[in-house]
Symmetry: D2
Subunit: 401 residues, 4 copies
C-alpha cells in the first residue's frame, strides 16, 4: 500500500489548482449571479484557458483528445475541479455530457461519432440524457413507460421524461425507451439519439428546483415525446441493450459525482475554517474559539478524509479489476459521500450564520443544488439495500464468511 500521489499526478493537480485560482474563482460570483446560461462569453474563455493549461477532457482517452487518466487520477483531479460549480464545465467534463461522451465513445457508429461525439468533444454542442420519468420509480426498470415503437424504418417515441439535465439548449438527447415491452426487465429498453429539433420532441418546462427553473446547461427539463419519429439508425448500441448501457453510464457517473462532492466538501470546510478563524464575536474572541465550532471542524475533517480514501480506493479497484469488482464499493460511496456532503454543507452554513443563507457565498448554491445528491443516481436508501443484500448473501448458511 502506498498513499503517495505520484509526481506526474501531483503536477497535474497543481496545474488544476492554479487554473481554479487564476481563472475560475475570480469569475464564479459573476457567473452564479447572472446564471450560466447568460455567461457564454465567460464560459468560453474558461474553456480556452482549460485547453491552454492541458486540462481539457480529462475523462477521455488520449485518442479522443482527452488526458487519458486512470480513474484514480481523474478522481483526484475531479475533486479539485469540484471546488467550484464551474470547474467541470470549464474542462468539458460536466454531467451529463461527460457520460454521453463515454457511451458514444463506446457505442457510436462512425456516422454518430462524426455528427454527435466530435462536436461534443470540441465543446461546440451540448447534449442531455433522458432516462428518469415523472410517474415511475426510477429504481425499478420494469416501471419504465416511455416507448419507442418500430414503424417501418423509424422508431416512434411516445412518453414523458423529467430531470433531463441541460435539455434546454442541447443539440440532442440520448433517450432510454421501451422497445420490447414483453421482455424481461433488463432487456426491455434501448437507447436512441434524438435531435432536440425533431418534431414531436417537446421541452415542456425547466422544472423549478428550490425556486430556480434555471436555463441552458443549468436546468433540468421535463420532456414530452409525441409520435416523435427518428430513423432506425438513431439506435445507440445494441437493440434492447438500454439497461446495460445505462448501468455502464451510471457506474462511473456515481464515482464522478463522489469525487466532485469531495471537492465541494473541501471548499466548504475551507470556508468554514476561514470564517471561524476570522469572525469576531467580541474583541479578541473569534467564532473559532468556540468548542462547538471546533468539534464540527474536526469531525468534518475526519469524515471528509476518510470518505475521500474510500472513493479513491474504489477508483483504484476499478482501474485494477474493472467495474464488476467494485459494485459493492460504488454503492457504499454513493450514499456515504452524499451523507458527508450534506452534513458538511449544513455545518458550513451554520458557521456562516445569516451570511450562509445568502448568495453572497457559494454555500447556498451548493446547499440547494446538491440536496439531490442523496436522491439522483439512485436514492441512498436503494444503494444501502443493494449493498446490504450482497453482504447478507455472503453470510447465508453454507457460505464461507
Amino acid at each position: 500500500m502506498d498513499f503517495a500521489i505520484p509526481p506526474a499526478t501531483a503536477a497535474l493537480l497543481d496545474r488544476a489548482r492554479a487554473f481554479m485560482r487564476t481563472h475560475v474563482f475570480p469569475v464564479e460570483p459573476t457567473v452564479l449571479a447572472r446564471g450560466v446560461a447568460a455567461s457564454d462569453d465567460i464560459v468560453a474563455s474558461l474553456r480556452a484557458a482549460a485547453r491552454a493549461e492541458g486540462l481539457w477532457l480529462p475523462q477521455m482517452a488520449r485518442e479522443e483528445g482527452g488526458l487519458g487518466l486512470s480513474l484514480l487520477d481523474h478522481g483526484l483531479l475531479s475533486e479539485v475541479l469540484g471546488h467550484s460549480p464551474l470547474g467541470h464545465l470549464a474542462c468539458n467534463c460536466q454531467a451529463p455530457d461527460a457520460g454521453n461522451m463515454e457511451i458514444l465513445h463506446k457505442y457510436a457508429t462512425p456516422a454518430q461519432r462524426e455528427r454527435w461525439l466530435e462536436p461534443l468533444l470540441r465543446g461546440e454542442i451540448r447534449s442531455c440524457f433522458a432516462m428518469t420519468e415523472p410517474d415511475t420509480a426510477g429504481s425499478n426498470p420494469t416501471q419504465l413507460r416511455c416507448a419507442a415503437r418500430l414503424d417501418g424504418d423509424d422508431y416512434v417515441l411516445d412518453g414523458r421524461k423529467w430531470f433531463t439535465t441541460g435539455a434546454d439548449g442541447a443539440a440532442f438527447a440520448v433517450v432510454m425507451a421501451v422497445t420490447d415491452p414483453a421482455a424481461e426487465a433488463h432487456r426491455r429498453a434501448s437507447m436512441l439519439i434524438v435531435p432536440t429539433d425533431t418534431p414531436g420532441f417537446r421541452r415542456v418546462r425547466n422544472v423549478p428546483i428550490f425556486g430556480h427553473a434555471g436555463a441552458g446547461w443549468d436546468s433540468h427539463a421535463e420532456l414530452e415525446f409525441t409520435a416523435c419519429r427518428v430513423p432506425k439508425h438513431s439506435l445507440l448500441g445494441p437493440v434492447h441493450g438500454g439497461f446495460v448501457i445505462a448501468q455502464e453510464r451510471l457506474g462511473p457517473g456515481r464515482i464522478h459525482h463522489c469525487m466532485r462532492w469531495l471537492g465541494i466538501c473541501e471548499r466548504a470546510l475551507g470556508m468554514m475554517a476561514a470564517r471561524a478563524a476570522t469572525r469576531e464575536l467580541a474583541p479578541g474572541e473569534r467564532l473559532g474559539d468556540k468548542q462547538i465550532v471546533q468539534a464540527w471542524l474536526a469531525e468534518c475533517r475526519a469524515r471528509i478524509d476518510a470518505a475521500r480514501l474510500l472513493v479513491l480506493r474504489t477508483a483504484w479497484l476499478i482501474d485494477q479489476h474493472g467495474f464488476a469488482a467494485a459494485r459493492d464499493d460504488i454503492s457504499l460511496i454513493k450514499f456515504h459521500v452524499a451523507e458527508v456532503l450534506s452534513e458538511v454543507l449544513d455545518r458550513a452554513i451554520q458557521v456562516h450564520g445569516a451570511l450562509g443563507l445568502t448568495d453572497d457565498t457559494v454555500l447556498a448554491f451548493f446547499y440547494t443544488r446538491e440536496r439531490g445528491a442523496r436522491i439522483y443516481d439512485g436514492p441512498d436508501e436503494v444503494h444501502k439495500v443493494a449493498a446490504a443484500r450482497r453482504i447478507l448473501a455472503r453470510h447465508r448458511p453454507g457460505r464461507e464468511g
Copy 2:
C-alpha cells in the same frame, strides 16, 4: 394536568382548519409560483375571508380588534396557520408586522398609534424591523454599530442593517440604533420609527437567499442609513431602552416561530405519509411498505408530538407566570423545534425523491426558507449555551440541586 383542548379553542381550530382548506391551500401553488409580491389580489381576498371567519389578528388583544387569545391558544392556532406559508399573512399575524404591532401596542405614543399601528392593524400598510447588521455578531449587543446621534430635535442615523424582512414595500422601519455608545451593553441603543421614504434611508438590495432575492413581504433587505434624519418623537419607547424592547419582542417571537414550525412539520409529515401510502414501486408494493420509510414516519411523529407539548407548556408557563419564568424553556424550544423541523423537512424531501426537490410541492419552499430557523433569533448554539449556563448555575457547589 389536563391535555384536553377546551371546546372553545377546539371550535376555533376547526374554523381555522376549514379556512386553510377552503381558502388558503387552493391558492397556495399560484401564489408561490407568482411570488407573494405579485399576488396582492389573492392576499386581499384571503384577508377578507380571514376577517369573515373571525381569524383576523389572532395575536392581538380584543381592544385592538384581535382575538384576545392566551399564548397557549394562539400557539395551537398558529400551528394550523403554519401549514401554509400564507396562513399567517392571511390573518395579519405574519412576522415582522406581528412583532411590531406588539411593541407599538405597548410603547407607541398616541400619535405613533394613529399613524403607524392602526393602519398596520387594518392591514393597510406593512412594516419592518431593522436590528441585524451585516458585519457584527447579532448575539453580542456591544457589537451593534448603526448609530442615531441626537442633533437638535432630530436623530441622525448612520449605519447598515440586513436581513430586514419585508423592508421592500414597507411604510416604516423600527430601527435599533446606538444612542449612547459609552453606556453598558444593554443600555446603549434605542428604537426609532423611520418612514422608509425618509431621505438617507436606502434599501441597498433584497439579499438573495438560496438564489431568491424575493420582493415585497417575501424579501430580506440590506439597508443603508446615511445622515438619515428623523424627528426626536420618532423614538419608540424609552430612550436607551432598545435592548429591553428587543428582548420583549424576540421572546414571544421565538414562541411564535416554534408554533409556526410545528405547523410546517405537521404539513410535511402529512405529505410524507400520503406519498408513502400511495407511491407505487411495483404492482402491489408501495413506498410505505419499506421499513426505512416507516422508521422515519414513526420517528418524526414522536419527535413532533413531543416538541409540540414542550412548546405548549412553555406558552402555558408564560400565560401563567410571565416571560421571566419561561426564559430557560424559550431557549430550549428555540433550538429543539428548529432541529426537529430540519429533520422532518429533510426526510419529507427524501421520501418524495426527485419530486421533493421541485417546486411542484411546497416542501422545497419550506426547505430553503426555513433553513434559517436554526440561525435567526439567535443561532441554536447560542441558545444551547445560554440554557446550559443556567442549568450549571443551579448545580454550583453550595446550591441546592
Copy 3:
C-alpha cells in the same frame, strides 16, 4: 390544557422525593456493591419506610392496599422512584411483580388471589413472568413454542424460556404456553401459574448480561420445562386467552418503563450538570465552561422535558379513554424515550470521563442494565414499524387525512 401539577399530587411527589433522599440514596451504593440479593435486610427496611411514608403499592387500587393513583399521577411518582434502581423495589411496584399483580388482580380466582396475589401485595413472596423464548422471535406470536398439553386434569408443560426476570427466588411463574397449536395466531396460548418448586420446572441458569449473572430479583433466568405438570385450575384467565393478557400486561408495562426511564434520565442529567459545574480542568476553569458539554446539557434538558410530556400525555389519554385510544402513543413513547435514555446515559458517562466507567457512580449500572430498554417489550424497530403502519393506514387513498 393545564400543565400544573395538582396540589395533592405535588405533595405525594414531595413525599417521594424526601423518601428517596432520606432512605434510598444513602443505601444505594451499598446495595449495588453487594447486590440486591445479598441485601435483604436493607430492602426490608426500605420497604418498611415506604409503607410508613404512604408510598406502598402505588400502582394498585385502594381496595388492594394501593394508592389508587391515576396513571398520570403514577407516572409522575414513578419518575421520582426511578432515580434509583431501588426506588420501585422499595415501594413494591417493581417489574415483573407489578405486572403480575395487575393481571392477578384482574383474572385471579379467589383461590389464586389468596395463594399468590395477597402475599405478593404484602411483599412476602416474589414472582416472575415467563414469556420470551431463546430461539423464537418474540415479536411474532405464531413462533411461540413452549407448550402446555392438557392431560386429564393437568396441564403438562414442555419448552424453554429466557429473560425471565427474577425467577431466581420467585415463588411462582406466570407462564405463557401454547394450548391450542392449531388456532390462529392470537388464540394459541394460555397463561398458567406454575410454582417454581413444581417437578419439571428447572432454572437452567441466570443468563449473564454484560458480565453479570446476578441473583435473586436482579437476575434474568433461562428456564426449562420438562413434563412439568400443574393442575388445570392453574390457568390464569380464560383458556387460550394468553395473548390478550400479555398485551394487557405489556401495554401498561411500557408506560411504566418509560416513566422509570425518565427518572433515570433526570438522575443522569443532574449528575452530568453537577460534574460539569464542579470538575476543575485548571484553576478557575471548569468542565462546564466547555461549549461541547454545554450543548449536551441543553440538548438533554430539552429532549427529556419533551419526552416526559409525551409520556404524561399518553398516560392521561389512557386515564381518559382507555388503552385502545393510546395504542399509537404507546408505541411512540416506547422507542422515543428509550432513545433519549440511551443518549442521556451515554453523554453523562462521557462527561464523567474515566469515573463514568466505574461503579463509583450509578451511571455504569444504568448504562448496562438499561441497554435493554431498546430491546425488551418489543425492539424499538418493531414499534416504529407498528406505529408507521397505523399512520400510513390513515393516508391511504379514499381516506380522510
Copy 4:
C-alpha cells in the same frame, strides 16, 4: 497510490487469520467465562502457538525478537488480532505491556533492559503504566500531583493513580511522577520504574468497571504510593523527560488502539450480518430481509471501510515521515474510529436482540470494555479541539490556506 496489500503482508495476514480461527476463537468463550486471570494455562498455549506461527511480538524490531513490521503492516495485522479480546495477548503485543516494551526499548539502561525488558519480551512477566490520577484532569499536565522527591540516592513517591491497567499481578509499574514541581508544564515529571513489591506501593483495589472488577491483566487498578522509595537508577529516560516519553508512548498507542478497534468493528459487523442472514422471524422471512437492518449493515460497512483507510494512511504517514507529520491525523483517527466503534457495537447488539445483551456472544464484552475508547488516551472532545485548533491556525489572516 496503490491500495494493494503486498504479497508478504497478505501471507502474514492469512497466517494470522488461520491462527485466530484455529487457536483463539475456539478458546475465547471459555476464557471470557472464566476470566483471563484464571486462564493461565490457555493463554500459555495460545502464546506457544503464536510463537510457532511466527506471530510473536509483531510490534517489536527484529533485534528484539519481533517481526520488524512497518506501522502500516502492524496495523493490518493488529486488526486481525483485534477480532478477539485474546488476539493481542496471545502475541504479546497487548496494552499496556506493548507500550512499555517500546519505551524500554528506547530508553532502558542495560541493567533495566536485562531486568525488565527481556522477561517482558519473553512473556514471563507483566507490567503496568501508572499515569492517570483519580482527581486531576488527565488532559492537563500541570494538574499532575503524584510526586517523586529525590532523597539521597532514592526517589520517594507519594500520590495516587488509577486506571492502571494490569497492575494486579504486574512485576513492575512505569510511574509518571512530578520531579520538578516548579518547572513549566511539560518539564515537571519523570518516568520511574517501580517494582510492585516495593514497600509503600499499594494496590488499593481493582476499580470495578461496569460491574466488573476483574483480575490480573484484565483489571484496572487504583494505586497508592506512600513514601515509596526506589533507587535513583530507577529513572527511565532523562530526568524531567516524563511528558516527552508519555507522548511518545501515547502516539503509537492511539494508532494501535484504532487498529484493534477496527478488528472489533469487523468482528461485530460479521456477527451482525450472520445473525441477520440466519435469524428467522417467520417461515421464509429473515431479520436480514428488514430494510432497517439492511441500512445498518450498509452504513456500518461504509464507515468501517472508510475509517480503516484513514488509519492505514496515518500509519503510512508515520512510516514515511515520522510522528510529527501525523499529529493531526492521530487526533482525527482517535475520535473518528472510536465513534464508528461505538455505533457498530450498538447496532450489532440491537440486531442480536436479547441475545446481544448476554455473555453468550462476545458483543456484550466489547460493549462495556470498549465504552472507554471514547475516553481513554484523551477524551474524543479533547482530540477534536486539538485538531480544530491546528486547522484554524492554518486559516488565520495572513496565512496561506
